[in-house]
Symmetry: C2
Subunit: 315 residues, 2 copies
Amino acid sequence: MTVELVNRILEGDVRTAARLMRGIEDGAADAFGEMADLYPHTGKAYIVGITGAPGGGKSTLVDTLITTFRQRDMTLGVVAIDPTSPFTGGAILGDRVRMQKHSTDSGVFIRSVATRGWLGGLARAAVSIIHIMDAMGKDIILVETVGIGQQEVDVTRLADTSIFVLTPGSGDAIQMMKAGILEVADIFVVNKADLEGASRSKMELQAMLGMKSGACEEWEPSVLLTEAVNNIGIEELVDEILKHQAFLVSGEGMEKRRKERARLELTEAIESSLKDYIDSNVDKAFLEKLVDDLVQRRTNPQAAASQIIGKSIKR
Amino acid sequence: MTVELVNRILEGDVRTAARLMRGIEDGAADAFGEMADLYPHTGKAYIVGITGAPGGGKSTLVDTLITTFRQRDMTLGVVAIDPTSPFTGGAILGDRVRMQKHSTDSGVFIRSVATRGWLGGLARAAVSIIHIMDAMGKDIILVETVGIGQQEVDVTRLADTSIFVLTPGSGDAIQMMKAGILEVADIFVVNKADLEGASRSKMELQAMLGMKSGACEEWEPSVLLTEAVNNIGIEELVDEILKHQAFLVSGEGMEKRRKERARLELTEAIESSLKDYIDSNVDKAFLEKLVDDLVQRRTNPQAAASQIIGKSIKR
């Protein structure tokens, strides 16, 4: 049964892949079992993270990147990590429908993942969806996030090449600096470069990157100007991505990033397993009693945690 | 020894409190032990969360809030959660020095906490610092974060009253909606209300909040206009905070929030203890071997995690 499913995904069957992805998002237990069988067939795709504040024209940029990679005969998976709200049900990101034009192209597979309710770093579901697209044989996987924050820094840890998109005069560079994004991006894109201040934004960014002089980085992050709506600068961006890939492959960078990613996934898997274990083994009534004791200050969090853990851990 | 330390903090001794806070931030083992002794003396302070994008005049607003609360004879703790970057070393938030004018007032205790490197939701250090200020007898604890994202949503779970600050025409409201902040804030403040579009921002926000009509919320979040630099609207904001406090105390809201917070703290404590346990008990060489196996696809994350956990958990 599972062998059949794995084979269908390896053949690139979209329906099977989509069904497995839904299972992952719903937290279905058998879906995670199937991921284990799929895992040996992953690790071939090249993962590109794209992030930046809303309103930066990122959807259009991703759209033109898809077109350009396709012209170079590469297949793509696109994972859009969406912050959703019960208010909007995701309608706010309706501009993503523009990408629908690729929906008849079997070389492109686009999938949104909702982040709402995910606390604690990287989402297991996003990682699994990347693995599924990888196993389907996609050459490039674009992972898009919206925002400037910890989640965006986390995404760079998933990606081989991390791209950060900003717009002229937006103050995004300062926010990126605050969020610690400047240190982790490989390529910066000043999109909407036809707007006033594009060259200044580029220079400011280069100056900020120059502040990194202390560290002995091998790859010099580049700053590119694009106008996604006019399809300007996209070929150069794709060239730069492939140049970064060649750089990583020729040195130890690729091996290092993949190892870091495996370590991250292992840590995540250990933590989720422990949480699952606690969730299913700790007596709910006992937990609620401890919560009451905490509210009444009859105990403290550390002592209460020890009581819970003492029942589960070998000492 | 510890009894003495606890007593000094209960008496409001700033040096002792600051030393304990440093221990907490450095992750000193004995500091967490001391927190356990302090915990029974906490739970009296009223916690107010204040958040919003950078550039919204939040520091000035906090500054005027401190002054206004002090005029009403209330003492304050202020915890500024700072995103720092190795590039800047926090210098970027130098405008916080404005608050220094309160440094000679023994009724105000201000402390910054760096968030850099904290993955996984709420920071244990921030929670501990709030507890210390609480034990010192501060009436109000203001917790300030910078940004619009998951961290800000998390902070609301720490607070009794959550305030979100935006500026006219900034597009912050849309970002808040995306981040799921609209649902969790108790009071909205349109600061810099002298700028064009302030009334429109207020109306837009009220319209968005109206979208919540489906849910049967008891507290109707309010939208206030302020000009912090001109000290306009601050009295009204303090009134609104105290009105919300009265609302929570009169109903089940306060009990509910404190219970939720205790549950959150317990969960955090369980997870950190488990992580500490794994960190100190898992053979590093074995872990690295599993990472290599993952990179080579000889195993999968779930199976590798089970191997690690199998050695530690009672089945």
